[in-house]
Symmetry: C2
Subunit: 133 residues, 2 copies
DNA sequence: CCGTATCCTTAGCGATACTG
DNA sequence: CAGTATCGCTAAGGATACGG
């Protein structure tokens, strides 16, 4: 029995590792698309704009490995493969959407902060430069 | 006036960009530590195990740029710099914790799925190999 | 104490070409 | 259609050394 009330390093590692999946370039977008219902490979490829065939494959494999999507092969000709969110995948989608909502709600504030920071940085630079002038 | 009810690509980009901050290797850990209260540079360095000085600097700069933390310099000798979560940073922390809780709650299921997937992959391999034998 | 600058290694990703 | 294989680039990150 593992003591779940104390904060073991192992937990941090695992959490970080799982978080990094959310942070990678494509996983979230794929999961969001699959949230609309099962999709075929090339269907996803069209929906997730900009993704390469290679990265779609790798992303789907990763999600499948973690038990977030299922992969169903219909041995027809031409072949047809359906990807679909598992219950686990659905629950992740919900949590991730919360983060997405946060991002949308605070997007303006963040962008404003960035502009302020960048301008301040520039003017610090400019100060030195104009001291010389 | 931007139509906020339709799903413009720009929004996706911004959301993805902000999500990538959560996914990067150190930001979340730093934010979590700062959730305990203001911290000094080397204090954070000790708390966030494994982070290099360089990456702590870069991470803090990024967070500061996005308006998630404030940086306060006390021009004493030796110098002292305090980092502290802004309101925006606190609200991010809350949302991120939800994701962290999800990760903890589903960690066993994910790890189990991974083992299954990996073993299945191996046995597919093994099938070919033992066919030859 | 709090950084910055430099070098170097790896991991992520895209482009392209090929296969069942 | 749904992939795999290979190559090459670039961005992220670690180690180390130096500076205010």
């Amino acid at each position: 029995m593992s003591p779940s009330h104390i904060h073991v390093p192992t937990d941090c590692r695992t959490v970080t590792e799982i978080l990094s999946r959310v942070g990678d370039k494509w996983s979230v977008q794929v999961v969001v698309q699959l949230g609309e219902g099962p999709k075929r490979f090339n269907e996803l490829r069209r929906l997730v704009t900009g993704i390469s065939q290679r990265m779609l494959t790798l992303t789907l494999r990763g999600l499948e490995r973690d038990g977030l999507v299922t992969r169903t092969v219909y041995p027809t000709i031409p072949p047809r493969v359906d990807y679909q969110l598992t219950d686990l995948g659905c629950s992740l989608l919900k949590t991730v959407r919360a983060l997405g909502d946060w991002a949308i709600q605070n997007r303006d504030e963040i962008l404003a902060a960035r502009r302020r920071f960048d301008e301040a940085g520039v003017s610090d630079f400019e100060r030195e430069r104009s001291d010389a002038a």
